[in-house]
Symmetry: none
Subunit: 242 residues, 2 copies
């Protein structure tokens, strides 16, 4: 259950174990979980380590505490979806189109200057580079290159990026995705874009550069996308803050 020799921190292992128990319904809402001392005894770990796991689950809303009584499971969280931080897949589905992808390359390379700057890492640090043609209703929509710091986003496989990268980051790696910034510009298609997007020479494209950040401000993703301007409009709504 708990592997003390694992590179994964003990508190994190306990966290995941408890989270899955809660989400599977093995412990119901408002039921007490075992006490901190009991966990410490059961897994032969320090009580402070148990507390670190429980603290995280409390701040994530899975548990609540009552001094002198115990620690209890919270009511199920309301499903909070990515507001605005949409992936290509979600974006296309919202637009009523069927998304698909064609993987061009998937490898670990040394970060270039721009990528290093965007990911706040040093040049030549290893990063995943994923090149894909994004299709909507089987027609090319965008040419997309994703960079992820290999030291942060570990254990990435083709399988994962074909499923949901964000879910992997949040659920398996237990990071919290917080915000993203995008820069959008217009340009004339270059040869590689002409080829993969099947457009004419001189055709305009919409270039989107996205940096995504974790809750602690760490950038974890940098995506460069070239969209066919004749098929894609970037839609965006904003509200005035209080």
């Amino acid at each position: 259950m708990i592997d003390k020799n694992s590179p994964i921190p003990i508190y994190h292992q306990l966290e995941e174990h408890l989270k899955s128990k809660i989400e599977s319904g093995a412990i119901k809402a408002d039921e007490a979980i075992p006490s901190e001392r009991e966990y410490a005894e059961r897994y032969q770990i320090s009580r402070m380590t148990v507390r670190q796991a429980l603290n995280n689950l409390v701040s994530d809303g899975y548990l609540y505490r009552q001094k002198g009584k115990g620690t209890f499971v919270n009511k199920k969280k309301v499903e909070q979806r990515l507001h605005g931080l949409t992936s290509f897949t979600e974006d296309m589905i919202e637009r009523g189109m069927k998304p698909s992808s064609k993987l061009l390359s998937f490898e670990i390379i040394a970060a270039g200057a721009e990528t290093a700057h965007r990911l706040n890492i040093k040049e030549n640090t290893p990063v995943y580079e994923i090149k894909r043609v994004r299709l909507a209703d089987a027609a090319p929509m965008a040419l997309e290159t994703t960079y992820l710091p290999a030291n942060l986003i570990k254990g990435l496989t083709e399988e994962i990026i074909n499923q949901s990268l964000y879910r992997y980051i949040e659920e398996k790696l237990s990071f919290t995705i917080h915000e993203a910034t995008q820069q959008i510009e217009a340009a004339i298609a270059k040869d590689i874009e002409i080829k993969h997007l099947q457009i004419e020479k001189g055709a305009p494209i919409l270039l989107i550069h996205r940096s995504s950040f974790l809750k602690d401000g760490t950038p974890f993703e940098y995506v460069k996308s070239a969209y066919r301007a004749d098929r894609y409009k970037f839609i965006h709504s904003m509200q005035r803050g209080k």
Copy 2:
């Protein structure tokens, strides 16, 4: 500074102390605070107690950590809030450029099909049409056409649109501006844009269509803008709601 005999927990005292330092601006954004070990030494408390204080400030967004480097002050929440509903003037000032305008035309016309649809009014209803070249540092940046329902936005003058249209709407007309939606696309410049933006034939432009709404949902503004792609990138940040 820290009272060990106070009934208020030490970590809470340190937390409040640091929070006020941050909010008063005594420590600026992205500046490092003293290390955990230094706080422990300075106040003769345990490093774990310092960490408890810092942990809380990190999860409240006041601080962020970097392993091996230190703990730093986060940007104020106002600064990191997505800047919404910016006018061209505010946008350029934020980018460190000096905005100005050249009025091309200012008249009341009958709404066309597209404009009527966007403003949710009937065709041929009177609307203001304002055509301007927007300049940044005295160089053409965008060609902008604004439509406003004449029956809603009353008493508009050249004077007002050269000042702040939004302020006029909110302060003089007592409307509350609430949100805007934008559609952004790439295109090749047409003749009129080539002329006013002083760009080459075949040059790409960034087309932004913005509809703005009052609090009650009434659309009050429709703006079509064509930006020089070589000088303008649309920047946009989004957060995940909680």
